[in-house]
């Protein structure tokens, strides 16, 4: 956003507070994140452990969300909305349905 100002691409609604975002992150950071993601993928494939897999999914999605999608630089309200709305309710849906699926007695 800060750069947006500098280059004259301001658009009314947000320009008054866009300055809080700090500098554009360097390219290098992204490629480090990329490397970590690759390593994690390999680890997930090699280790057939459910907990490791779930942890791997969690860490990978955090890296993508946090660095690539710039949640790091976003307002806290947005971060919480994404975490609760996009993930929380879905996990809760699965959590409750897990008991259901595990307990049903097949009849044929």
């Amino acid at each position: 956003m800060a750069d947006a100002h500098a280059h004259g691409h301001d658009h009314g609604p947000d320009h008054s507070h866009g300055g809080g975002h700090g500098h554009a992150p360097s390219y290098r950071g992204y490629w480090i994140a990329w490397f970590i993601l690759l390593i994690l993928t390999v680890v997930m494939i090699k280790i057939h452990n459910r907990n490791v897999l779930l942890a791997g999914i969690g860490i990978k999605s955090c890296i993508i969300g946090w660095w690539f999608m710039h949640l790091k630089h976003e307002a806290r309200a947005l971060v919480w909305t994404v975490v609760l709305g996009g993930l929380g309710f879905v996990l809760f849906l699965f959590y409750l349905m897990y008991f259901e699926a595990a307990k049903a007695i097949p009849s044929v």
Binding site: P13, G85, F89, F92, L93, L96, M97, E100, A101, A104
Partner: protein
């Protein structure tokens, strides 16, 4: 696609002053025109949906006299439910009045993305057309209940409407979800980003809060229905078995499906279905707050508490869907959880109700039509809400589930409450829409008819439900239910009254549009922002951007003795 580029440099200013008929009234970008378009579409769909209910009510009261076959009956109840929920209440309350009043009440020129707004209206039109067209295909419209639980809705042979009719139903619903999602994105972005200077979040009228919350709920819950619809379509036409278990026998034939379960659909459906109830009810309550404050000449009681209660209802509403499934074969322990969590919602809901009621404390009431509807809404939301206590308790639900108690309860909530809110809103904002007022005499007649009709119908249905009268029965052939079913003619007569008074409304609405008395800028002496715009407001709403200097409900504190102050006044 369009979302990817943020701010156009190819500014097309041509529509700023639309002159032609088409660009002004049909493919308009103006949120007010789009809002009215939604309202008119909802009126048309409402005639169809309510007409269906009159048809099957006649059958219930005098079996065999309505020229209705059992096939017609299951189709009529299904389509009545679907049309009323998605194409009447959602369209008129959420989309229609929402589009109309959000920019006006927050001081924006238009929605954040007017093109998207127009597109979402023109997406819903074919959806509505497809829904209506499904009556005329072979086998008739969908007949699996508005919940369309598989396997009934997944196997074309299970019911007459489960053929093409059900496919068109799913298609229309998918279109509806797309349109509603686009609209919801617009609502959220507009309310978050385009508030006029000084319009902080806690200075927004409660109507805006409720629209915001219902848009958020819609965006979070409708995708679950989309997923369920995709899977159901695949089950119907791709031969998959997401919801179809192994070895079903239908009309003597062994089916080839393997491995699915219908409970999955029910979970996904109600993950949407329960928030959907709040999507429909909350904006009505919000409008009632505005109307009550303006016509009781006092600020709403407990503004902050109400906002808190709304958020609490929204959050809890997302995690209690299973109370629609107590006896669906769900794990009994989940039944206990859903009972307890659902009953927690009584707290914020009671808070909301008490704030509505308290707004009348030490009031100076003006009994105009919108106010009468708002007062009726208080009673409806209270009466309907109390029925919820029974249904949320799993134990009591053993008796009440799928009886007319449920029917009475949810009609009071998402039928009467939301329509009372819608009517209050339409009568209230009509001057802003057309620069004219609706006829008060007809309006009051409409109110009496609606009030007496609906309250008798749905209260009596509660008692019929206590008698164990089951839903979606073409005729009551069981012995035990005879005393309860004996009340059906009474219910039907009052349903006629309720339906007839809606015709009065339609006449009033369209007549006043052209011939109503001219209205001034602020006919109700209300304080919120929309009353600073012209009546009717032009494209762009204001010439000068309004600056907000106070709370939305500034009644009883006027310095010059007039007893009220606009939100823009110092």
């Amino acid at each position: 696609m369009a979302l990817t580029h943020s701010h156009g440099t190819d500014a097309a200013h041509g529509h700023d002053h639309p002159s032609g008929f088409w660009s002004k009234y049909i493919f308009s970008f103006d949120h007010k025109v789009i809002g009215v378009q939604y309202l008119i579409l909802a009126c048309i769909m409402g005639l169809i949906g309510a007409g269906l209910s009159v048809w099957f009510r006649t059958q219930l009261a005098w079996p065999g006299k309505a020229g209705m076959s059992p096939e017609n009956y299951v189709m009529a109840v299904t389509m009545h439910g679907t049309i009323m929920i998605f194409f009447v209440v959602s369209l008129s309350l959420s989309s229609g009045l929402g589009n109309f009043c959000i920019p006006l009440q927050i001081g924006a020129r238009d929605m954040a993305y007017p093109l998207l707004n127009m597109l979402s209206f023109w997406t819903i039109v074919p959806g509505a057309a497809i829904m209506v067209a499904s009556f005329f295909v072979e086998g008739g419209g969908a007949a699996g209940g508005w919940t369309s639980y598989p396997p009934l809705s997944a196997l074309p042979k299970a019911a007459p409407g489960s053929g093409t009719g059900q496919t068109l139903w799913l298609l229309a619903m998918a279109i509806f979800v797309v349109s509603f999602t686009l609209g919801g994105l617009n609502y959220v972005a507009t309310i978050l980003n385009l508030r006029a200077r000084g319009m902080t979040l806690m200075r927004m009228p409660i109507t805006i809060w409720t629209y915001f919350i219902s848009a958020v709920l819609g965006l979070l819950s409708f995708p679950a229905l989309t997923a369920a619809a995709i899977m159901l379509l695949l089950d119907r036409h791709g031969g998959t078995s997401f919801f179809l278990p192994s070895k079903l026998i239908l009309s003597g034939q062994l089916q080839t499906n393997t491995g699915g379960t219908p409970l999955l659909f029910q979970h996904l459906f109600w993950f949407l279905g329960h928030p959907e109830v709040y999507i429909l009810v909350l904006p009505a309550v919000g409008i009632a707050f505005d109307v009550l404050a303006a016509n009781a000449r006092r600020p709403v009681m407990g503004y902050k508490a109400s906002v808190f209660a709304l958020w609490a209802i929204a959050f809890l509403g997302m995690i209690v869907w299973g109370h629609h499934m107590f006896i669906s074969g769900m794990n009994p322990y989940l039944g206990k959880y859903f009972s307890i969590s659902t009953l927690i919602i009584t707290a914020p809901f009671a808070l909301l109700g008490v704030c509505l009621l308290g707004t009348l404390w030490r009031a100076r009431i003006r009994f105009n039509t919108p106010m009468l509807f708002a007062l009726g809404l208080i009673s409806a939301v209270g009466t309907g809400g109390i029925g919820g206590l029974f249904l949320a308790t799993a134990t009591a639900d053993l008796h009440f589930h799928d009886t007319y108690f449920v029917v009475g309860h949810f009609h009071l909530m998402i039928g009467v409450t939301s329509l009372m809110g819608t009517f209050a809103g339409i009568y209230y904002w009509f001057p802003k829409m057309f620069g004219r007022t609706m006829n008060e005499t007809l309006g009051k007649l409409h109110f009496v008819g609606t009030m007496v009709g609906t309250f008798v119908v749905f209260t009596v249905q509660h008692f019929q439900g206590m008698g164990g009268m089951t839903r979606r029965y073409y005729e009551y052939v069981n012995e035990y239910v005879k005393p309860a079913a004996a009340l059906n003619p009474l219910v039907t007569i009052f349903a006629f009254i309720a339906f007839g008074s809606q015709l009065i409304f339609l006449v009033n609405f369209f007549w006043s549009m052209f011939a109503g008395a001219k209205a001034s800028k602020n006919p109700w002496e209300a304080t919120t922002l929309e009353w600073t715009a012209e009546s009717p407001a032009g494209h762009g709403n204001w010439n000068e951007p309004p600056v907000v200097r106070g709370d939305p409900y500034r009644y009883g504190e006027g310095a010059d003795g007039k007893g009220w102050k606009l939100q823009t006044d110092a």
